[in-house]
Symmetry: C2
Subunit: 348 residues, 2 copies
């Protein structure tokens, strides 16, 4: 059978031998696909996700095209904070923007608790639509407290996270109070997604890799751990992802992750040595490689698999999201190539 | 004496015990200083550096204010490529921009050899002005071939370096030919700076950390090594710097660096373990810490020094350049704090 019960993706997440090498692509649903551009419209993603039929269709598009081993909900890490009325938007070509950034204790009033059913009913509805259609597991997701906080504090994307770090070090109690509320959002959202049928969850701490490991451990990890702890009882695999996290991989595993995402900067064999035995890895082809064409992509994918060796706990993926300029045909050949490789016989 | 001969900076670069803990700040001359904003004017930095009196004055400002143990020439890594007529500018708030990016073999014609005396006489003139004034060594610098190439190929700053990597993997010979020419620029420029009186050199490969180590080693390191090899005979310490280079530190040392710059993501003790014994380290306070105020800065600086332990081969610095929003008074206290700490008695 091909249903979720026999899922190679879920098997690899659990460190069990999968029936084939599992693969999916972060941001597999998106601007790289002509069928996405054809139906997406021009509104903000925060508007698009409120249309469950549209969001479900967008989620399904890459499954049809690539035969990936998992689907990931078409949504955004800013959906909960937007839904509680903080005042954020996702601007095309920019990213999440907060018109009035989070700067003082009074701003905590703008981060009220999330009521998943009341605030974001469309999320669970999209999940329910999807699980009726899907032959592969659906991954639910949430933004990690730090990464969501960084957008709120900076007011938008940043290269330096100066205001975020200044608050983290200069007013650690306010920073902690904000992250605690954002952790509650993530927990509430993930519980609702799993209750509606998501079979795994990924927590995106995309920008945690901007932090010194000691800062991450002291000011961020406790809040991420709260998220992982709270969803442990749901019994679904938990993936923890970020970029430039080479120094954080062990800490990110210690948050309670079954699977740690690895960017392309850390060779997979080096990453393996930084997480406890039994932790699965997800990654880690450089998304830019796709733009170099198929020959380069095949060579680099083979290198990722070689560095994985005989470990069954590996989900093939890119090290970050599919770039919009990517050729879907190269990604299709990549999926075919990975699926054609023999599955390791043994190993943790 | 306080002259360059007794320089704590040069001693630490060579792994010898300095008379005090040496310190300088990357981008110590710049927008964070009111005296800089007062004299800098509104033109491009490429214009400002053509005025040796102005460039020398800007170089001297932070020495007077902070008492740093080295000066660094006020210049830009794009000076040589601009001087040979490729067609680049440094746009305020953006960075280096190439109106017509490097895309095909024909573009190599726009990367002719640099004639330091004919193309950039103002660089050596600024150095000569400075060494007459300075009581501390002047650091000359150049952009590493990869980082300069990334601006030429992308046409400007990038978060993903997709075109650069696509060329590196898809047309490696063209990529290598470009980097070889840029290496020659760096060599020519560094020789001229040292001939005019620079007492150390720093090669900025700021964005090399965007690369998988295997890609760096195959496609970039040979060209950087050519630069380090060519300037070895000049007898001045050679510093090799980049950010998100945690996985590259050993390779960057192997290029021929006497000193490896460390960003703030890698704890200094972990960095030390990744370079050969005898290699000095420079860094590695997170520049954003300065914005959290003096108490946080002092605590974090103490952590850097504690992680350095008793190694004499350490030059205190930030892990990247001073952020424009930084309070110069915090940097002044930081310099005072570091200088007040006892010098390690022994250790490599």
């Amino acid at each position: 059978m091909n249903g979720p019960e026999a899922s190679p993706f879920l098997a690899a997440c659990r460190g069990e031998r999968p029936s084939r090498r599992p693969l999916w692509f972060m941001r597999q649903a998106g601007r790289s696909l002509p069928e996405y551009r054809a139906i997406r419209g021009t509104g903000s993603i925060l508007q698009a996700v409120k249309d469950p039929a549209l969001a479900a269709e967008i989620t399904l598009q890459p499954i049809r095209r690539y035969g990936t081993d998992a689907a990931i909900l078409y949504s955004d890490i800013m959906v909960p904070i937007a839904a509680v009325g903080f005042g954020v938007d996702i601007k095309a070509g920019v990213g999440p923007v907060a018109e009035v950034p989070f700067r003082t204790r009074a701003d905590l009033d703008r981060v009220r608790p999330l009521d998943a059913e009341g605030d974001t009913p469309y999320v669970a509805e999209t999940v329910r639509l999807l699980v009726r259609e899907l032959q592969v597991p659906l991954i639910g997701f949430a933004g990690a407290p730090f990464t969501v906080a960084s957008y709120l504090i900076e007011g938008g994307p940043s290269r330096t996270y100066t205001r975020t770090k200044a608050m983290m070090l200069g007013d650690p109690q306010l920073f902690a109070d904000l992250l605690a509320r954002l952790a509650d959002h993530a927990i509430t959202s993930l519980r609702a997604q799993v209750a509606a049928g998501a079979r795994a969850v990924q927590v995106f701490d995309s920008w945690a890799g901007a932090l010194h490991p000691a800062h991450y451990e002291r000011h961020v990890l406790p809040h991420s751990r709260a998220v992982f702890d709270a969803v442990a009882e749901l019994g679904v695999p938990r993936i923890h992802f970020g970029v430039t996290t080479g120094e954080l991989l062990g800490l990110m595993a210690s948050a309670g992750a079954d699977v740690v995402g690895v960017d392309w900067l850390v060779p997979l064999d080096a990453a393996r040595a930084r997480v406890p035995a039994g932790t699965a890895l997800q990654g880690n082809l450089d998304p830019a490689v796709i733009l170099a064409g198929w020959d380069a992509t095949r060579a680099e994918a083979a290198d990722v698999l070689a560095r994985n060796g005989d470990h069954v706990g590996h989900i093939f993926n890119l090290g970050h999201g599919v770039l919009p300029e990517s050729d879907p045909d190269v990604l299709a050949r990549l999926a075919e190539f990975v699926h054609a490789q023999p599955v390791p016989e043994a190993g943790p």
